[in-house]
């Protein structure tokens, strides 16, 4: 959200810096939200996600990835366990409708014996991300009882309900897409504007900001967190560097076909981070990655997302390259963009370019 005289680039850099140093608020209401209810809800989630959800305690959330039948990633999101038989699933904005249709198809045609109801509640809840070192105190100020979001009361990935000042009950999850101490507050939609006003009053006086999609993108690219740009319908969970999320204890949609030999090849494109070798240079999303001197054909990989990193002070990107970043140590790589006439030498690094251990969001 550019200020007066500010370019979009200047705005997102300011917003990203503010989130990393102070606090930012972002409207995330567009995220898909699906109520999953019933005695077999836990079993259903275990079948559709690669990881376990039946073991998720009440009052906790967990990041999950769901695959297509052919073993390719379909979507990701966090799912919250509200009670023994009641879950709130979140999806990406883009795939919300597709996932909803998919879940209904599974329940009506493949597993009609499961006692599960799914219902879209995307419109029921307005969502606001509160992210940054001051997120906890900003959030606490908007609630009747701020102690509900203390570090002890709401640990990382915890979920709770709370009364907002002025009336209305909200749901809060301590989850982080930015990599900072962060929460997502879901207020009933008709109270969304009021909730944002409460949070903004608390954030503004602390030097916080509103942040938009460009800053959201910069923050998540710095952290190596994937979105639909990376989960583009062609990649496996291993390609995306998330193979540790695959449970060995249960089958799930896609569990058989993801083990096809071609999807297990070690030279498959894997998620990596990208720096310009000359830190003063830029490159573009959509550029292809080649070994230097061999710029021909479709190359060894591609760039999915780019940003100026306010934290690192130079341009960075995410993308995929055959064999992953370990295979490209000490090797020279070019990002070639013939459509826009640009070749830039790049370094292939780990995709987790800022705070790789995730310490800031566990604060």
């Amino acid at each position: 959200m550019p200020g007066k005289g500010e370019t979009i680039t200047e705005a997102y850099i300011r917003e990203t810096e503010t989130v990393r140093q102070t606090v930012g608020l972002c409207d995330v209401s567009s995220l898909g939200k699906i109520a999953v209810q019933g005695p077999d809800a836990a079993e259903f989630l275990d079948r559709i996600y690669t990881n376990m959800f039946s073991t998720l305690p009440v009052g906790k959330a967990r990041y999950g990835i769901m695959l297509r039948d052919d073993g390719i990633v379909l979507d990701d999101g966090t799912t919250w366990r509200l009670s023994e038989h009641d879950y709130l699933m979140t999806t990406t904005t883009t795939q919300a409708g597709k996932v909803m249709v998919w879940l209904e198809e599974l329940l009506q045609t493949r597993w009609p014996e499961l006692r599960v109801h799914v219902a879209s509640v995307s419109d029921q809840w307005a969502g606001i991300a509160v992210a940054g070192p001051l997120a906890r105190e900003v959030l606490a100020e908007a609630l009747e009882d701020g102690d509900l979001v203390s570090s002890e009361a709401l640990p990382f990935m915890g979920v709770t309900k709370a009364a907002m000042k002025g009336g209305g009950e909200c749901r809060i999850a301590r989850i982080s897409f930015s990599g900072e101490l962060a929460y997502e507050l879901y207020a009933p939609a008709d109270l969304g504007e009021a909730a944002m006003e409460l949070l903004w009053q608390a954030a503004e006086k602390r030097g916080g900001c509103l942040y938009g999609l460009e800053a959201l993108g910069a923050l998540r690219i710095e952290k190596g967190h994937v979105t639909g740009a990376e989960l583009d319908g062609r990649v496996t969970i291993d390609d995306a560097g998330l193979g540790k999320m695959v449970s060995r204890k249960k089958p799930f949609i896609g569990s058989a076909l993801r083990q096809r030999p071609d999807l297990q090849r070690p030279d498959r494109p894997q998620l990596v981070g990208i720096f310009p070798k000359d830190r003063g240079q830029k490159f573009k999303a959509g550029a292809l990655l080649f070994q230097r001197g061999k710029i021909q054909g479709f190359g060894e990989g591609w760039i999915t997302a780019v940003t100026h990193s306010p934290t690192l002070g130079h341009w960075i990107g995410l993308g995929y390259i055959a064999g992953g970043h370990q295979s490209w140590q000490e090797r020279r790589v070019m990002a070639s963009d013939p459509l826009r006439g640009q070749d830039v030498e790049v370094e292939i690094v780990s995709p987790h370019m800022v705070d790789p251990k995730g310490e800031r969001m566990h604060d």
């Binding site: 109801h117 219902a119 995307s122 419109d123 002025g166 008709d190 504007e193």
Partner: protein
């Protein structure tokens, strides 16, 4: 209590529009409302239907495409396994239902409630929905789960006209479509 913000805030302007003479269409919105979904399992239809009826205070469990009512509380049969309790009253406490019997879900903020009344209300709805709205075919206390431009909508009829629940995020667009089309009949927005 914090003011509720309707999805129609930017669109809903009271007044008289369109063709002169008596207004053929009267559009309005029910702002404060409760929409609760009661969902059964195939083997618990009877038990869950009774729970839903009890929560709504109605005497009978509505069958397919019907509603039962008690005062301004309506219990709509919206899907084979689901009923919606719809009322202009503010949310009452969520009824507790055992998971073995079914599931209850609050959708009060997920839907916008539009009222469509007037001598041309049937004509207006016919412009958008593939249903015969005439009294002899879609009478009082009937319910339809349909779609308007691929957006799922729920419509029911009472003596004073039609009611439509639309997804909140599409409400503005649907309201504009109804308004624009209603001009030809003469429109009053309440």
């Amino acid at each position: 209590m914090t003011d509720l913000q309707s999805a129609l805030n930017a669109y809903h302007r009271k007044g008289r529009y369109g063709a002169t003479g008596d207004a053929g269409v009267i559009l309005g919105e029910v702002r404060v409302k409760t929409v609760l979904q009661f969902a059964a399992w195939p083997e618990t239809m009877s038990k869950m239907g009774k729970q839903a009826s009890k929560a709504a205070g109605v005497k009978s469990v509505p069958g397919i495409s019907r509603l039962s009512r008690s005062g301004d509380i309506n219990l709509l049969r919206v899907e084979p396994l689901k009923w919606w309790l719809v009322t202009p009253q503010a949310l009452m406490d969520m009824p507790e239902v055992d998971a073995e019997t079914g599931a209850v879900l609050d959708l009060s903020h997920a839907r916008t409630w539009i009222t469509i009344k007037g001598s041309a209300a049937e004509n207006l709805l016919s412009n958008f929905l593939p249903i015969d709205w005439r009294q002899g075919h879609f009478g009082d206390d009937q319910v339809a789960s349909s779609a308007m431009h691929h957006v799922g909508v729920t419509v029911w009829r009472r003596e004073d006209g039609f009611n439509m629940l639309v997804p909140r995020s599409f409400a503005g667009s649907i309201w504009q479509l109804l308004e624009d089309s209603a001009h030809q009949y003469g429109l009053t927005v309440e």
